[in-house]
């Protein structure tokens, strides 16, 4: 029973016999333990080996995923600062500890950065030698056939009348036609295919590095500003025009893309019926914009998922609200203020609040200069006075009502301290009193006017209610690189997971009886069903050119590895085959 061995011995035999044939079927790093020699260089080398080993890379990957978890559960400064402040208030003991650990800024914390930087150093330390090794493999040739092809995971053999040289030539031509890199070495043809697996693997890992750099670059040069614009008003992209502005540490104002735009119209539609009544359906902002300082005027519509792209900058529609037009007249009927006053939404139905401030031009009945302030509550759909609340019932302008109260005095707007336009500093303001002696307040329908007492003037809620839209202007360079990296990463990943790198050998030798013995064998890096399948196809194609010859009398068998008679006989019945191999082959 010369062909039969138990698994353990074949394993040992395989390793010896395959030798160079199985070597370098991949450029995956060796996992041999490496004990450090003495000295600094020895230790450095040991450390480097450890860092670039697959095992440590694996641990770093695990650490990276573990490290990312707290950032999803603890509020993050970079995402929602108010939530962080809220958390600090509620957890007085925990918050300082979290601060020390950087848990409010996980993704820019020292320890998280350390993990991914180590991971990427490890990655580079892995990729560079693998690339060189792979280049070496491309410049070299597939290794020659191992001595005994029957030891390989998939093999086949037959006898043919065709001469050995013709068989080898036919095999060489066949393999080359099938896209193998093939060459003749000794009495066998050696061929290899599937180099794209390695290319894909390297490309994937390099693409990851490109993505990381692009992301870091984007963060450093990023700028992000918000601007609230009322219908009919405009914006030019300079720092001073923004309501608020954030930028990366290497950003300079010269980097701002020059453009300007006007908000012509804002449209919002909402679900009218059903359980989701009031849910927004569409938001659209019609703009005219021009690129550069004196660019041509163009029209466009910005929607929630469709930002306006100008150069590196993108203009997003991020919020909206109402801006009632309010007219304030003095005691003589002169208009001292007329403007759309943007109010901030407080809830999903756009109940809004804000302040109307009259800073200049107003003189009280005594002729003294004074400032006026009106706290405003606005509901686009009033629930009726019976509800007793100023909470909006629906986000669209179905039954708009404006509630105003009135103050006069000094708004302290000139004190040099920046003031919110949505809040009023009442420390130097006096209430206008109503007939009941309390603070003057009134609910106004569009077109209605509230008279101020003692001929102090009036406030009118004009019929034309404007809407405002909040825009976010983001400039984040490196997006193209990140996208390119992502596409390459997917392609590389697919190549490295779906392409098999495999070797095929065809040996043709003249047997003692003058008949040629053909042996074919295939070897893949991983155990794959495709290797034997492909070998079968190749064998069939070659068999057509070197048809089988009748088997000689068992007694005079000379083919290598051929077994004595009884064995041959038993081998013909499939039942006697190794059940695992047989079923394995079927299943695959």
């Amino acid at each position: 029973m010369s062909n039969t061995t138990t698994d353990d011995t074949t394993k040992a035999g395989d390793d010896q016999e395959l030798g160079a044939a199985g070597a370098q079927l991949s450029t995956a790093p060796d996992e041999a333990p490496n004990l450090p020699s003495l000295g600094v260089i020895g230790w450095a080398r040991w450390f480097w080996r450890q860092l670039t080993s697959m095992r440590v890379a694996l641990l770093l990957l695990l650490l990276l995923s573990l490290g990312a978890i707290p950032g999803s559960l603890i509020p993050q400064t970079g995402i929602d600062e108010t939530k962080v402040a809220d958390f600090r208030e509620r957890h007085e003991v925990l918050a300082p500890v979290y601060d020390k650990l950087g848990l409010f800024n996980v993704y820019s914390s020292v320890w998280f950065s350390a993990i991914y930087i180590l991971l990427f150093v490890s990655l580079i330390g892995c990729i560079v030698p693998r690339t060189w090794q792979f280049v070496g493999q491309l410049r070299g040739r597939p290794p020659g056939a191992p001595r005994r092809l029957t030891r390989l995971p998939a093999h086949t053999t037959w006898r043919t009348e065709t001469g050995p040289e013709q068989v080898r030539e036919a095999a060489l031509a066949l393999l080359k036609k099938r896209g193998f890199r093939a060459h003749l070495s000794g009495d066998a043809v050696a061929a290899e295919k599937g180099y794209l697996r390695e290319v894909g693997n390297l490309a994937f890992h390099i693409a990851l590095i490109v993505m990381l750099i692009a992301f870091a670059w984007g963060q450093l040069f990023k700028s992000e500003g918000n601007k609230l614009i009322v219908e009919g008003h405009g914006f030019a992209n300079t720092l001073t025009q923004y309501d608020d502005f954030k930028s990366g540490s290497l950003f300079t104002t010269d980097d701002l893309e020059p453009f300007s735009f006007d908000l012509k119209d804002f449209k919002g539609t909402y679900e009218r019926t059903g359980p989701n009544r009031g849910t927004p359906r569409t938001y659209e902002a019609d703009l005219t914009y021009s690129e550069g300082a004196y660019g041509e005027q163009k029209r466009t519509t910005v929607k929630v998922n469709e930002p306006l792209k100008i150069g590196d900058a993108k203009v997003y529609l991020v919020s909206h609200g109402y801006a009632p037009v309010v007219t304030v007249r003095d005691g003589k009927g002169q208009i001292v203020f007329q403007d759309a006053v943007p109010l901030l939404p407080l809830d999903a139905n756009v109940t809004s609040s804000g302040v109307v401030k009259v800073l200049d031009g107003y003189r009280n009945p005594e002729g003294k200069k004074e400032q006026l302030g009106f706290q405003a509550f606005f509901v686009p759909t009033f629930g009726g006075s019976a509800t007793g609340t100023m909470l909006s019932q629906f986000p669209a302008l179905d039954y708009p009502v404006l509630a105003l109260n009135a103050y006069h005095g000094d708004l302290k707007a000139d004190s040099g301290i920046p003031q919110s336009v949505y809040q009023m500093d009442k420390s130097k303001m006096k209430e206008f009193k109503g007939p009941d002696g309390k603070l003057l307040k009134k609910l106004l329908r569009p077109g209605e006017t509230m008279k101020l007492p003692n001929g102090a003037g009036s406030v009118t809620f004009e019929k034309d209610i404007k809407e405002w839209a909040g825009f976010q202007v983001v400039q984040e360079p490196g997006g193209g690189w990140a996208l390119g990296g992502a596409i390459v990463a997917i392609g590389g990943l697919a190549a490295s997971l779906f392409i098999q790198r495999r070797r095929v050998w065809v040996r043709a030798t003249a047997g003692a009886d003058g008949v040629t013995v053909v042996e074919m064998a295939g070897l893949g890096r991983s155990e794959s069903a495709k290797v034997p399948e492909e070998l079968g196809d190749l064998a069939e194609a070659l068999y057509a050119q070197a048809p089988g010859a009748p088997e000689p009398d068992p007694d005079s068998a000379t083919a290598p590895e051929s077994a004595p008679g009884p064995d041959d006989a038993s081998a013909k019945t499939p039942d006697h085959r190794n059940p695992a191999s047989a079923e394995g082959a079927e299943q695959q």
Binding site: N3, T4, T5, T6, D7, T10, M54, R55, L58, L61, L62, S65, A68, I69, G71, S72, L73, Q76, I79, T157, W158, F215, E271, G274, N276, T279, P280, R281, T282, K303, V304, N305, P307, K314, L317, S319, P345, D347, Q472, E476, G479, A489, L493, L497, E527, P532, G536, A539, Y543, P550, E551, A563, D568, K572, N578, P579, A580, S581, E583, Q587
Partner: protein
């Protein structure tokens, strides 16, 4: 003002009826699978035990390499001899849940037929739901769940149609599909409705559909991995001379060999990993259009990333000495756990941009992803 198309109430109702019918049929399929396993337990063939028990005769059975050019007859084509990889246990695959029992096999076939019927009903339910709202059927967790289970069953049936040996997974799959649908119709049910502006994008079709497919395939991988762990410890016990309990023997004997299970789990996970990568990238592109940044460490983004890293770990572990086998399998389960948490955990416990619960432009209903 353009009003969005109103949802079609009768189609939505038809969808609900179809989903309930699918659940009923799946329940019947569930009992049929149970019957298959029960009848299969009559089979007493212990092939694994025979292959692994020390001293058993078949252990000594030589791995015969067949000489293909045998006899005087000239072959049609040369036959390829395949050898099991050195170092793995030489264990035959089990016969499947029916255990070779004829009646068991009959019930198994009935179960598969019922699964096909249930799938068609569920598919109809998903389709009518989509038609009733005139958009992709994954705008909220209910829709996501019914689509997810339908896709999971679809993947299973596709593998069956491709003549893959996967019928043994049927019972486990249908059990969890029933749980998933039960959860969907009771806890997660949302009346059919239009989408909020933030979800109006063709990326919704691309990003969410691939996420669902990935989840379904990852799920099959995870079930196989659990079975692998059981089967592997069963085989180790046998190989070490132990004697597993009769229930374990009865069930595990009928499953494929641990090596086959491991290989199957690896294949499905590896096959879908690039798609999961694509899902995240598609999400990033959409986020770039919708929120002004392509990556912002939103909880859903973080957990997709964690899931991705965990599966990357698993793929690397399979190629690393000392991590192959059980350790890699634990990683695969961990990775699926991350996926699961990303869906249920993040949607329910963590609020972020994906939860569509912020005030402002995003006053939106809870959407799946």
């Amino acid at each position: 003002m353009t009003l969005a198309a109103a949802t079609n109430e009768s189609l939505a109702e038809m969808s609900n009826v179809l989903i309930y019918s699918a659940m009923a049929v799946y329940t019947l399929a569930f009992f049929a699978y149970i019957a298959e396993w029960l009848f299969g337990s009559r089979s007493k063939v212990a092939r694994t035990a025979a292959a692994l028990t020390p001293g058993a005769e078949s252990r000594k059975a030589p791995a015969v390499t067949v000489k293909q050019a045998g006899g005087t007859a000239v072959l049609e084509r040369p036959k390829v001899v395949v050898r099991a990889t050195a170092g793995t246990r030489d264990v035959p695959d089990g016969p499947g849940a029916h255990g070779g029992d004829e009646q068991g096999d009959l019930y198994g076939r009935i179960a598969v037929s019922l699964t096909v019927l249930g799938f068609l009903l569920a598919f109809g339910g998903v389709l009518t739901r989509a038609l009733s709202v005139q958009r992709a059927p994954w705008g909220n967790m209910y829709e996501f769940n019914i689509t997810f289970s339908t896709v999971a069953v679809g993947v299973y049936l596709t593998l069956l149609a491709l003549k893959k040996n996967v019928r043994w997974i049927g019972l486990f799959l249908i059990t969890s599909v029933l749980l998933d649908l039960g959860l969907a119709v009771t806890v997660l049910y949302t009346a059919s409705d239009q989408l909020v502006p933030a979800l109006h994008s063709y990326w919704l079709y691309i990003h969410v559909s691939t996420a669902i497919l990935c989840g379904a395939v990852f799920y099959l991988g995870a079930v196989t991995t659990i079975l692998y762990l059981f089967k592997d410890s069963y085989e180790s016990k046998l190989a070490g001379g132990g004697k597993p309990g009769s229930f374990a023997t009865s069930v595990l004997e009928r499953l494929p060999a641990s090596a086959s299970l491991d290989k199957f789990a690896y294949r499905v996970n590896a096959a879908v990993f690039p798609l999961w990568t694509f899902t995240i990238i598609a999400g990033a592109i959409w986020a770039g259009d919708a929120w002004g940044r392509y990556w912002g460490w939103d909880p859903k983004e973080v957990w997709s990333f964690i899931t991705w890293v965990a599966y990357a770990c698993y793929l690397h572990a399979r190629a690393t000495a000392g991590w192959k086998g059980r350790k890699a399998a634990y990683l695969a389960l961990l990775a699926f756990g991350c996926w699961l948490f990303n869906y249920y955990g993040v949607n329910i416990f963590v609020s972020g941009k994906h939860s569509y619960a912020d005030v402002g432009l995003g006053v939106l209903t809870a959407a799946g992803f």
